[in-house]
């Protein structure tokens, strides 16, 4: 699904150059659930931005769903974001002016989908996250957990192949965090690839594979040697600890 090879990304300002990613290589297979962790400033968000075509990269190769995405036009990148990728952000990023229904509608409208199909998809995804009764509420009228569920509904409404989530539980208490994690697992179980950046070792442990990023490099990858070792509640090997 996602094949990155020796990706580098440099931020240049007048004064400084920041090598946010260097020789960053990672492969994520279709249907996988990968957790990415690492210290603050290590390049996790940069990795997600490059992976999600929100930003370009400076060197290396990146194939998304089999397609080489370097050198694509801005419009082509927008189209891939719209069709293949669902984003979940730490600060929810719902559009405050729009109610939940219209928020979920946003990516579908940019896909020029017909009204009745949009409506069906919006209702389905809101049902999946359990927000059908709140679809005419404004984001400000919902709790943080509900807002993040709405954001997940928006991310999956277009039926993307890949979900990229940047610390989606960072602003939530642990109960809500576990709810969100449960939702992401449910979506993954239906076949969608999920890449989750998280600080929370408990949540990371529930992923099939843990990536550790330090200083713009993949430091180590920990995968359960035996899939059976990964319990239904996310318990896994002690050595897969992330900190």
């Amino acid at each position: 699904m996602l094949e990155m090879h020796n990706i580098s990304k440099v931020y240049r300002t007048d004064m400084i150059e920041t090598h946010a990613l260097r020789e960053f290589s990672l492969q994520v297979a279709a249907g996988e659930f990968v957790a990415v962790s690492g210290p603050s400033g290590s390049g996790k968000t940069t990795f997600l931005n490059v992976a999600g075509l929100l930003e370009t990269f400076d060197g290396g190769t990146y194939r998304l769903d089999g397609q080489d995405v370097s050198g694509l036009s801005d419009n082509a990148r927008a189209r891939i974001r719209n069709e293949k990728i669902g984003f979940v952000f730490q600060s929810f990023n719902l559009i405050a002016d729009l109610d939940i229904f219209d928020n979920v509608d946003v990516p579908l409208r940019y896909r020029r989908m017909k009204a009745d199909e949009r409506k069906a998809r919006i209702t389905n995804s809101l049902e999946l996250v359990g927000l059908t009764s709140r679809m005419r509420h404004l984001p400000s009228q919902l709790s943080g957990g509900q807002q993040q569920r709405a954001a997940i509904a928006r991310a999956i409404a277009g039926d993307p192949a890949l979900i990229l989530a940047d610390e989606p539980t960072g602003n939530l208490d642990s109960l809500m965090a576990r709810q969100i994690m449960g939702l992401l697992e449910k979506i993954n179980s239906m076949g969608t690839t999920v890449v989750l950046v998280t600080h929370d070792p408990e949540l990371a442990r529930r992923a099939q594979r843990n990536i550790h990023v330090i200083d713009g490099l993949v430091a180590d990858t920990v995968a359960p040697s035996d899939p059976a070792a990964r319990g239904p509640h996310g318990q896994t090997h002690a050595e897969s600890a992330v900190d």
Binding site: L54, A78, R81, N93, L98
Partner: protein, 404 residues
Amino acid sequence: MALTSHPLLSALRRNPTGAVLIALQIGITLAILVNAAAIVTRAIQKMSRPSGVDTRDTFVMTMVGLSKNFNVYSTSSADLAYLRHLPGVAAASIVFGTPLTDNGSDTSVGRSPGSRGPTVTSALLPVDQQGLRTLDVALIAGRNFRGSEIRVPSAAHPDPRIGEVIVTQALAHALFAHQSALGQTIYVGSHTPSTIIGITRNFMGPQLGQHAYDTVLAPEIVTQYDMYDLLVRTRPGQRAAVFRAAKRHIGTADPNAVIGQAVTFAHAKRLLYSGLRDLAIFLSFLTLVMLALCCLGIFGLGTFNVATRTRQIGIRRALGARRRDIVALFLAENALVVAIGAIFGCLLALAIGQWLTDHDGVARLDPWYLLVGVAILALTSQLAAWQPARRAARIPPSVATRTI
């Protein structure tokens, strides 16, 4: 889905103050634009009407007697004789009141005596038998006055009856429509009848206004006010020299008379239209300023919206909006504001137009002006919104993950 829940409207509903103010501004601008355009167009139409006289080569001098010793008969005859022999003069004549000069008298003309039946307000232009030639106005029917028909009223015979008259084509039509006016009897400001002996092509009388082309010419040298007008037409290109020479000679020929006023027709025409022209310039300028302020307001609102919605734009870009989708969003929002403003502006424009019709007798506002006004405003406002929209489209999608 009902319009009230359209996403475009929800954004406006959440923050309506700026949009409402701009819509108001657009409405007021439209109302003024439309009515000003109608007034300016009418002014231009009026100013571009043909005068029908030779404005390039004609001038007029008003002579005023100053003392009891002033003999209007001898002085005017001497002036006329001098002018007719001056090289470069094509024709000269004694008249009382002249086209374009705002100097002349009005009378009412009807087909029945006194105020019985309808009358037409017309200019009354007393001329001698050289009058038409000097004005360079051709007859299209009938004949000119004969020398024997020119009356010179005196203290002994004040206000003699007018026997024969010549009328303009416009006046003939106003009185007799498609009937032939030649030989018909009309009543010129009195109960005594006159006969139409000639019809001229149209030329403008002393004043602007509805009856500018309705003129009746009477064979008369008016002298009872110790004043007369010397009308002079020169050969092409000779006006300046003749005007100078005539002023020098006639101004000093009789110590008992002075030149009250000496103007060329070209200058008189400019003066006559100066009020209209100033009004047209002022209204155009006012409209342009309002339009510019409107664009500034729209530009400001757009800039404000981009600044306050940076994150939202980034999110939309992350979710798959292309740059042109962002431009379209901002232009659509602007179009909505303009549409609301335009509806309000149309109503206001009609109300102002109605008020002008009721109070100043201005013609009813042509709906075409509304249509064109809305089109102009829509276009300029979209142009004003264009730059902020472009700026919005340049906001990168990574804003969605980078700003908290």
